[in-house]
């Protein structure tokens, strides 16, 4: 599909009459049908992926078709599913009942800021579902119908749900400002579960999920190829540093199982972060192993249903138990850590076969992970640096002027904020924060989380990326920032599209990539003159 040029999109955002530019739409939202146009929806899930996951109603269909080929009793299935979820989730009940439409959330959503579409205001996104709830479950809704903001579930409503609950990245920024903590991510998750019940899914969620299930990682890489790819990264490390490293795979009896999103293994620039992990572990002599079976940290189930989330996540403990490791170390990833921090133990614990995590290098006990037994790499590395266990030369990153993008989930579903910053302070000399309303718990989404990082929705993605891009551009112009670091593999893919479109001179990297660049390793080449990207260090002639 064709995407507007940045100048054109800028003009479009500025000049199109919308609630963001101070113009009210002529019609009430409840009378405005959902409009499907190229660039604002994701392709439907292909039948094989749906079948592989034994999900309902596998078929060939497209959201721009008139007929979505739903089962005849779709209405009953969704209504029953809604009732069931109201009974299973207090969150859903409360969030359906207590909103006062104060509007505090309205301009907090990156998609609203970039599209001006009223239904991208979190309050209205939730009203899309709340209106049906009122119709079926509240006295006022039953009596007063539309006057009470109630409407029956119709096929038009289902289509609208699909459009807007797949224009939400479950980033939870709105929930931060809500006086009752209403979390649109929770509502979106419920809506997506309901849609899944009748076979309304997107391919960029179901296909990776099916792959994770079968091969262990979202790209469907089979074990032998997984090993070959990691080996080739080690060859690159040898070329650059002169150090030969041979990480182990599926090794029983290793002390630690390391799991990271497979994007780090296969996708540029994530691979440099993967090289970073391998170098870091070599540097400290860590007794760890990688798994080809549990070779995906990310969890595409989170974007589909709690059942699928549980099924994919269960692989981690299953593999840890089989290998007999003591605990699990997790790589840099956003939504992966939402699952690990807020769901894993509840869903698949207790992991009594593991031990409470202790750093074998510093003997630090990771008290905050004593039940789940999984530690974040930024926590692990920060502890190493604090104990002076790494030999670091931050000047090796002097050609980088770095900022840090807080990924939504580590920020708002965990609170991992100062660990990566502490690491960065010790490995780079040039660091600048983006404006305060755009970082830490107030951070803006990359615009393509929760399974939206696909090409066909690029128009909405680039609009949703605007707030993050804006903040980045600010420090790029003011402080000369040329590298945005993050702790998320989806970010490393999506922020690349963001910078290429909005701020072309800034590159994207993982935090551990910068750590490895600064590492002074035993046995390395006498002259180490370039970083992992083979870009020359400051002061070195190309």
């Amino acid at each position: 599909m064709t995407v507007l040029k940045p100048e054109e999109l800028t003009k479009n955002i500025e000049e199109t009459p919308s609630l963001m530019t101070g113009k009210s739409p002529a019609k009430e939202w409840i009378d405005t049908p959902a409009e499907f146009r190229p660039g604002n929806w994701c392709y439907s899930a292909k039948a094989p992926a749906v079948e592989a996951l034994k999900a309902p109603n596998a078929r060939t269909w497209s959201p721009d078709d008139e007929d979505w080929k739903l089962p005849e009793d779709w209405f009953d299935i969704i209504s029953k599913g809604f009732k069931e979820r109201l009974d299973k989730y207090r969150s859903l009940k409360i969030f359906m009942d207590v909103c006062v439409r104060c509007g505090a959330c309205a301009d907090k959503c990156h998609f609203f800021l970039g599209t001006g579409d009223p239904k991208n205001m979190p309050v209205l996104r939730a009203e899309l579902m709340r209106s049906v709830y009122r119709n079926d479950y509240t006295l006022a809704g039953k009596l007063l119908k539309k006057y009470a903001g109630a409407r029956p579930l119709t096929m038009e409503v289902v289509k609208e749900w699909f459009l807007y609950f797949f224009q939400c990245t479950e980033c939870r920024r709105c929930s931060l400002y809500c006086p009752y903590g209403i979390d649109t991510a929770e509502i979106t998750m419920m809506a997506r579960e309901l849609l899944n019940l009748v076979g309304i899914n997107t391919n960029w969620i179901m296909d990776p999920a099916a792959n994770c299930n079968r091969t262990g990682n979202h790209l469907g890489i089979e074990p032998h190829t997984f090993k070959t790819v990691v080996d080739s990264l080690c060859e690159d490390i040898e070329d650059i540093t002169g150090i030969t490293i041979e990480p182990s795979f599926n090794r029983k009896g290793a002390e630690i199982l390391f799991i990271t999103p497979s994007g780090d293994v296969f996708a540029d620039p994530g691979v440099y972060t993967m090289m970073g992990y391998i170098m870091l572990f070599e540097h400290i002599g860590l007794d760890y192993t990688l798994s080809t079976y549990a070779s995906e940290g990310g969890n595409f189930g989170l974007f589909n249903s709690s059942e699928l989330m549980k099924k994919l996540n269960a692989k981690m403990y299953h593999e840890a138990e089989r290998l007999g490791v003591k605990w699990i170390l997790g790589g840099e990833c956003g939504h992966m850590w939402r699952v690990l921090h807020q769901y894993m133990d509840t869903m698949n614990g207790p992991a009594n076969f593991l031990e409470e995590p202790v750093s074998p290098i510093t003997r630090t006990k990771f008290e905050n992970a004593k039940s789940t037994k999984m530690v974040h790499i930024a926590e692990f590395t920060a502890d190493l640096i604090r104990h002076n266990k790494l030999k670091l030369d931050p000047s090796r990153n002097d050609h980088r002027n770095v900022t840090f993008h807080d990924s939504c989930n580590p920020a708002r579903a965990m609170g991992l904020m100062d660990e990566p910053r502490y690491v960065l302070q010790n490995v780079v000399n040039n660091f600048h924060e983006m404006p305060e309303n755009t970082i830490r718990e107030q951070t803006f989404c990359c615009g393509a989380g929760s399974g939206l990082n696909t090409e066909e929705i690029m128009d909405v993605r680039m609009r949703g990326a605007l707030p993050r891009a804006n903040a980045l551009k600010h420090v790029h112009e003011k402080n000369g920032v040329n590298m945005m670091s993050c702790v998320c593999a989806i970010d490393r893919a999506t922020l690349l599209a963001l910078t290429q479109y909005w701020v072309p001179d800034v590159e994207i990297c993982g935090v551990t990539e910068l750590v490895a660049n600064a590492l002074v390793m035993e046995g390395e080449n006498e002259v180490r003159d370039c970083d992992l990207r083979e870009d020359p260090y400051e002061g070195v002639e190309e």
């Binding site: 009940k93 505090a104 905050n368 920060a382």
Partner: protein
């Protein structure tokens, strides 16, 4: 339409009470309806909260608004990202008493070149806070009508509220404050295109209703005097189940009481239940200690992953070729 109709409804309610009392239905408006309202309010409120509580909290999903508890030398934000009960209690107290989350509010503005700026936006926080606190103080003050002798704490609150002795009887700050706050809350709904677009009749109705209650109350106190002694006798009668009719109270009081009754009846079925909901919101009232203490999901389904043996069965030969260890040869 959606702005005017709720106003008309409130005016009709006022007219209803006026006509009813004028027609001599004082027992209906002074006794029967208040009782019904009280019962509906209490049962409705409890019913709603019980309904909420019947659904479990399967996952611990707090919105973390600050640094987590991690390494001992990293300073945790204990109240915005609490990891224990005390932290949660403080977080909830800040939320309920001081509207912590609304205090964070910003306003995004789109500038040249689609640049975004986020300005401070504390008016909603202030307006909301003034409204709710004034309302609370006014409700506490009204206990003077129910309690004999008047408890010292109520007298004290009255004294503070009436700090500015600008007129007789003492002018209560909260009377003015609640009107100002209500006016602000109303105007932002009409003036801001975003808020206007999302507003429902159910958002205007309580504003008008509470506004009318406040205005009738203020009229009675400062302008059109009613017989307070008779009112107190009536109210005392209501709580002691002594329904001897009180003469000469004045119709304004009955209108006031009727509107309060309507508010009480409306309350459990409306968004006003945020009063109860705020305490039960799982993104606020749980500690972010998920990796420290396992949270139990009562309906945790039995779902197994694709197991390692199944995986190895599919890929065994390929694994062996590149020297990956296998469990079965």
């Amino acid at each position: 339409m959606k702005i005017i109709t709720p106003l008309i409804i409130v005016l009709v309610l006022i007219a209803l009470a006026y006509v009813g009392v004028m027609a001599g239905l004082t027992s209906l408006f002074g006794v029967v309806i208040p009782y019904i309202a009280l019962v509906v309010f209490l049962l409705g409120f409890v019913y709603k909260v019980v309904k909420w509580a019947q659904s479990p909290v399967p996952f611990r999903i707090p919105t973390t608004a600050g640094q987590q508890q991690s390494l001992p030398w990293i300073k945790q934000n204990k109240f915005d990202n609490p990891s224990n009960l005390v932290g949660v209690l403080v977080r909830m107290a800040l939320e309920v008493l001081l509207f912590r989350s609304l205090f964070r509010n910003t306003k995004a503005e789109l500038g040249n070149g689609a640049s975004l700026a986020y300005g401070s936006a504390k008016w909603l926080w202030l307006g909301g806070l003034v409204f709710h606190w004034s309302f609370l103080v006014i409700i506490i003050r009204h206990n003077r009508l129910f309690l004999e002798p008047v408890p010292a704490i109520i007298a004290l609150i009255e004294q503070f509220d009436g700090l500015f002795q600008v007129m007789v009887p003492a002018f209560y700050l909260t009377d003015a404050a609640i009107l100002v706050a209500l006016t602000y809350l109303f105007f932002r709904r009409v003036v801001s295109p975003q808020i206007k677009y999302i507003s429902l009749p159910a958002d205007y109705f309580p504003l008008y209703l509470i506004g009318a209650i406040a205005v009738t109350g203020i009229l009675m106190r400062y302008f059109i005097r009613v017989d307070v002694v008779a009112i107190k006798a009536l109210v005392r009668g209501l709580i002691t189940f002594d329904f001897s009719p009180q003469e000469g109270i004045g119709v304004l009081f009955y209108i006031h009481l009727f509107l309060v009754s309507i508010l009480a009846i409306y309350f459990p079925f409306s968004k006003l239940m945020h009063l109860g909901g705020v305490f039960l919101s799982p993104t606020r009232n749980l500690a972010s200690n998920n990796r420290m203490r396992r949270h139990i999901n009562p309906w945790n389904p039995d779902i197994k992953p694709r197991t390692y043996p199944e995986y190895e069965d599919e890929f065994r030969e390929k694994m062996k070729q590149v020297g990956l260890p296998v469990d079965k040869d």
